[in-house]
Subunit: 197 residues, 2 copies
Amino acid sequence: MSSTRDIDALIDMMARLPGLGPRSARRAVLHLIRKRDLKLTPLADLMQTVAATARECARCGNVGAAEICDICLSPKRGNGQICVVEDVADLWAMERAGVFKGRYHVLGGTLSALDQVGPEQLRIPRLVARIEEEEIGEVILALAATVDGQTTAHYIADQVEDRVRLTSLAQGVPIGGELDYLDEGTITAALNARKAL
Amino acid sequence: MSSTRDIDALIDMMARLPGLGPRSARRAVLHLIRKRDLKLTPLADLMQTVAATARECARCGNVGAAEICDICLSPKRGNGQICVVEDVADLWAMERAGVFKGRYHVLGGTLSALDQVGPEQLRIPRLVARIEEEEIGEVILALAATVDGQTTAHYIADQVEDRVRLTSLAQGVPIGGELDYLDEGTITAALNARKAL
Ligand SMILES: [Zn+2]
Ligand SMILES: [Zn+2]
């Protein structure tokens, strides 16, 4: 149907977003068309704005609307700590927890021989430079407990351990997590790091 | 963070779409920002186009880009059959099956005393008028087997059964559907409508 070509194309693009599929894309597009003035037009406008303004922070790799992001610009966040994360989504998760008061360094992935991702692709040289420039006293590694995540953690440790205190997030049972749903590695780590009540 | 306000607002709008939530909205927006030129800008443009052109077919309630939709305009689809569906999503599902050759009538909901949805809100008078105007010989009710769906089916039957042949989709076990996952009503209906092999 030629006159619904744009609608079909829109469903198609939405369906290819992570977390969506054809069915949820169809539902979302129908919903948007029904609430055209209230939802579809504002959403399109906002996407245009973000497409025009969003950029990676030149210092930490966070996503924002300026050359240097708010966290890097805030003097309050300059407490001598850098938390190293794989991805902007991880940075956002840390910020939602609201407990970390320092700055971030977003690697943009993990080292992977298979995918030919080396230290340069991951901004690791940039991290080493920041330790000097920003007088960093502690680097907190908040990387996934996967093979690639841990390979990356060890590589970073080799690069920075003589310049800075190096820590990583504790492993253990998530709050509200039922043991039954956890993998053996997590349970083992939680048991080994057990604390006296 | 003021400079990420637009990004936060975009995540917020996406998260409120049916089928998405905060987590998938965050992932989708990060993905779009990373592929700004390839994905975010084209998606925003397409939404603008659809917002400017999409409209409900004045005859059947389908969604398209013209006053009257392609299906209503196609002489091939004027075979004297109208399939009554609750929603445009149901019309699309029927079209994907590709088996129905007639036209549609989209109610836009089901009768509901609770939500104060009456026959006028559902284009039922329009359906009655179309039976005369388009020389319809059969109305196929493709409504959900819910209380509201069946109330609506009975109401439509009362209005049109003396003018037209009235049928409804067969109920039974979906192809590939395991009995274990089906509700008792479906199993009962499938058993009652059993056929000799
Ligand atoms: Zn930054
Ligand atoms: Zn139509």
